[in-house]
Amino acid sequence: MRPSLQDVLRNLEAEGLVAAEALPRARAAMEVHQRNSTATPWFVKAFAGLGAWVAALFLIGIFTCVGIVESEEAMMGLGLVFCIAATATRGVAGGVFLEQLTMALCLAGVGMLVGGIAAKGGLRDVEVAAGAAIAVGAVLLVTFPDVIMRFLMALLIANATQVLTYQLLGGVGMELAVLAEALLVHVLLLRQPRMADGLPARLVSPVAFGLALCLPVHVLARLWPGDIFRVTDESSLPLAVITLGLTALTLFTSWQAMKAQDLEPSGGAGAVIFGALTLLALLTLNVPAVIAATGLLVLGFHRRSNILLGIAVAFLLVAGNVYYYSLAFTLLAKALALIGSGLVFLGLHRFFLRRTHPGMPTAEVR
């Protein structure tokens, strides 16, 4: 989805910033660079992360079998040693084997450290364990120089924050944390192009994608209250408040996308887009997942991220199911609502095509 080197160089050439003969020289430079590059696709990173997780579980299993887990202090101490040793080693040494070994050791260390703190305090000190997880995750996020580890630590921090806010503030805390999570995803990815080189720029992608993966789970969990969420039911923000917060975020992202297209928000197109999103939010006021998913969809396409688009599409499908399941209508009314809304979308599609491709009946529109 993103521009190629050719696209960028041709644009620079058109702006007079590089000479025409830059392309052949760029070709030669890239041949050399590719031979030394260690860039890998996302699924290879996912494979490496999965391997590290499984290895970490087996490492924890070893200490479980030999009885170290019976002493919380030993668990915590060993976990801390593993984290420090793995981080230090990763910072100075390279190679694929060491990368995997240090990642597995560090994950095992995090598991034992946080598990030891949790076991020491018992269930009354869940917030201590959650706080420790957030602190450990934050330190490793900054110090461990690996994008997969940073992504996993973002997941850890996001989930531990949910637990901590639930312990401290009940359902209201969890929902405020969800809103903060969504805000962070949007702001980080919208600001990413303007960030200068450095640690903050390197943290944006793993953190934003980690939070984007957690957001659907945290939003949807709120909509399926069970025994574990009994407190959430009693002291929670109204769902409409959460929806309005997420709507504001989606409108902001849409505004940024329109600005990039030189579209005035106050113009015709802007009014249609804002109106449609607001209408969607009002129609799904009690199911914030729908507008949250829509916001991720807009953000994912605006930032040209296939991964974020994939998350958003899956989120939207589940959110749609939750919405229609939640409607207090008969099956007949639901059926008519679905067919009606579907026909509206199909009608909008035809209208949209004719507006954007007027007088071009023989042109293929994909």
Binding site: P3, S4, E15, I62, D197, L348
Partner: protein, 340 residues
Amino acid sequence: MPKDILDLEATPERLQALVDAGVLPPPYLRRARDLALAPPSREDWQRFLATTLIALGSLLVLSGVIYFFAYNWAGLHRFAKLGLIGLGITGCTLAAVGSGPLSQRFGHFGLLAATVLVGPLLAVYGQAYQTGADAFELFVGWAALILPWVAVSRFSPLWLLLLVLVDVGAVLVWKQLFDGADDLFTWWVVGIALFNGFAWATYEHFANLRVPWLQARGMARVFACMTVAPLLVVSIGFVVVPRSTGPAGTVAVVLLLATFAAEYALHRHLGGELFLLTLGALCAMTLVTTVIGHASLESQRFDDVAFTFFVLSIAIIAQVALAVWWLRREARATGTTEES
């Protein structure tokens, strides 16, 4: 390797490499990054919105039809039931044909809707006339009836639907015709894998012949996963309980190794298909780890589970390290991008 190396995505690392090589003046790196991170064009947004609207619209209408029949199931006369579904199929097909060149995507989704509706039509027919048909006859019949549409549609998701219907039908045949016979199970799974593999091979063959609508790699990867997954399950069973899997287990292992070879050959032929290599590496790692774990547990007393865990953790780390090293080497050699 892509046709032109400059067709690679303009990542910050590559732009910095151009600066280091003296191709891009350092003061213009910022501008180059702005261009590389530029948002989609207005035309891209229009295509995206059009696709989203039609996908959501089709999905909502189809879901509504299903809910409608769920509500009216008992009350409708059988002719009304059959007539309504028939009307839906006819309408979707006409819409697909009538959309013509204006919206190929609209036509594709119309045809998808029509093929999905064939299933409820058969189900209602079986219910209305109490034909006593087994469930497998529904799925096999559904697949047979939509085959002509799938053949002319030039829309690969329809091929996936057909494959899923055949697979489900095959499982139901085993359960209903052969009473779920245990001795047939592994052979049945291998058979399904072979059929899925045939679909995958067919896709790759016609993609190689440059059929335009088969150039996207997404569907080929799905077919590859559907081929490899059943073979892996039987192979793991062969390692853990060889008596239960019998000769089918051996065949599954051999076929799994054959898929590894096919994945590598495709990767080389296409100049970079790292997803398939990763899939193969994951399967190989799973199988090897299962062998090591099983052998370790079989040879040790129960008290020595810790030793098994130690061996497995080292084995996994070593395998992942080796696989990632190899995949990165292949990525460098073929120029596969970060988001391939």
